[in-house]
């Protein structure tokens, strides 16, 4: 599904160049649930952004589901993001004046799906995350866990190939975090590829594979037996 070979990325800070990724090789197969770990500044978020076509690598190749992601213009990048990827952010990033339903329906709007179909699909995914009763509420009326569930429903709405989550539990308490992880595990069980960036070991333990980054390099990559979040909820 994802083939990353020898990727380099550095940021320009004033006159200094700060290398963030220093040659990463990273492959993810379909149906995997991977956690990327590392302390802040290790480059884990940058790697996720490159995978998510939110950012571009300076060097190296990235192949997403057989498509070479290289020198994309904004238009095609937007199309790929819409078709292949679903994003979940630490700060939820819901549009605050739209209802839960409209937030979930937004990726479908950009796919040109009709309004009626959009609402139907959005409601289906809201139901999947257990929030069908909250469809008409705006984000400010929802709890943190509910907001993240809405964001997950939104990420799923366009039926992407890969779900990318950047610290999805970073703003949530432990109990709610496990609830969200339970949902993500369930989605993975249905065959969806999930990549999660986290710095919390208990969250990483709930994935099937742990990748650890340090100073822009992968220092360990191991398959583990995931802890089922259901046990803690």
């Amino acid at each position: 599904m994802i083939r990353i070979t020898d990727i380099y990325k550095s940021y320009q800070i004033g006159k200094n160049t700060l290398p963030v990724l220093k040659g990463i090789d990273f492959n993810v197969d379909k149906g995997e649930m991977v956690s990327i770990m590392g302390s802040s500044g290790s480059g884990k978020s940058t790697l996720l952004n490159i995978i998510g076509i939110l950012d571009e690598a300076d060097r190296g190749t990235y192949n997403l589901d057989g498509i070479e992601v290289k020198n994309l213009n904004e238009k095609i990048a937007a199309k790929y993001r819409n078709q292949f990827l679903g994003f979940i952010f630490q700060s939820f990033n819901l549009i605050n004046y739209k209802t839960a339903l409209d937030n979930v329906a937004l990726p479908l709007y950009y796919q040109g799906v009709s309004r009626k179909k959009r609402e139907e699909k959005a409601l289906f995914y809201l139901d999947k995350v257990g929030l069908s009763n909250w469809a008409k509420h705006v984000p400010s009326e929802l709890s943190g866990g509910q907001k993240q569930r809405v964001a997950i429903a939104r990420a799923l709405a366009s039926d992407p190939k890969v779900l990318l989550a950047d610290e999805p539990t970073g703003a949530l308490d432990t109990k709610t975090s496990y609830g969200v992880m339970e949902l993500l595990q369930q989605i993975n069980d249905e065959g969806k590829t999930v990549i999660i960036v986290t710095h919390e070991p208990d969250i990483a333990a709930m994935t099937k594979r742990n990748v650890e980054l340090k100073d822009g390099l992968i220092i360990s990559d191991k398959i583990i037996e995931p802890v089922r979040a259901t046990l803690y909820v």
């Binding site: 939110l54 904004e74 004046y97 950009y110």
Partner: protein, 414 residues
Amino acid sequence: MFNIDRWQEIFEAISKNKLRTFLTGISVGSGIFILIILLGVANGFKNGTKEQFARDAATLIEFWSNKTSKEYKGLNSGRRIKMTEEDYNLIKQTYKEDIEYESVDFWKNGLATSYQSKSGNYQVIGAMPDKQFLESAELLSGRFVNQKDVDKTLKVAVIGIEVAKELFTNYKTAVGKYITTGNVNYKVIGVFLDPNERENTRLYVPYSTLTQLYASVNWGSGFVFTLEPEENYDIALAKSEAFANQVKSKLQQIHKVHPDDVTAIRHFNAVEGSKEIYQLILGMKLFFWAVGILTLIAGVVGVGNIMLIIVKERTKEIGIRKALGAQPKTIIAMILHEAIFITSISGVIGLLFGFTVLEFIGGQIKTEFILNPKVDFSIAISTVILLVIAGVVAGYFPAKYAAKIKPIIALRDE
């Protein structure tokens, strides 16, 4: 272009962001409102100044005749020249293209005018309908002599404010009453106020009526013209001088007057002394445009500023939309579409509000220097359109910038 889904998106964004919509609307609306008021006042100032400095029409050219002072073609000097309506018609025909207003006058002095027990001695002038504009006379009530009165030689009179005050205690009651002038009854059809105070003791009656009563031939005591207005003083002066000289030669030729005879046919050209008025009006015009353009610039800057703030405020939302697959042009279209919508609606509201205020205040203002502060509706509409277009142009750059922001940077913007 018309996309119901996009409209729904925009209406949602507008209605869910009431404060933002309101503030944008207020600033655009008040901009247009101030523009309309300023243009109106500038216009009123121009009108007022014109009125203040114009006793008669500023471009008035008058011809009259007297005795000859030179022998010519065997004719004696001292011969009295009398111009006629035929001469007037000939000039009128020849210079049809150049003439703005025209009148042939027949003057009759020494007639007593009375109403009931009150009477007075006023100058009676037989004139054509344009006389009102040639004299810059303002009608206080009723109407002026019109073409129908002239054609039918009706016995009607328009009386000066001083005449009206002396004969009728309350001048407002004069219209419709019958006055007697030299044993002939005239119906009063209007009361006028001439900026030149001495001329408020006059009576204007149809030219045809007065000549029929007091002249064996249709004599013309004076021919009065204004030429089509010219912006430039030098051109106006040159044209008026050429016109005056040509008409004078023609009249000398008709009446067999020596070309160098200065007393027989005489003329007065108001353009010669009206350089200041021309300069003042030009100045007013420049002022008017400067005010308009500066206000427009302020409006454009204001709209651009608002657009910049809106884009800044929506950076995160734009980032989210981009991460979800919105293409740059969709983002630009969304921002501009919303901007055009709000700008147009609030622009029109500001416009209507401004017009209402001008209409209301315009009638109340009693200053000598501001008169009739009105704005041409088409100019006002074009300024709104211009402002909307300017808003789009000013909004385009921030929108384009926003659409170019990498979603990752936009999302980091907390």
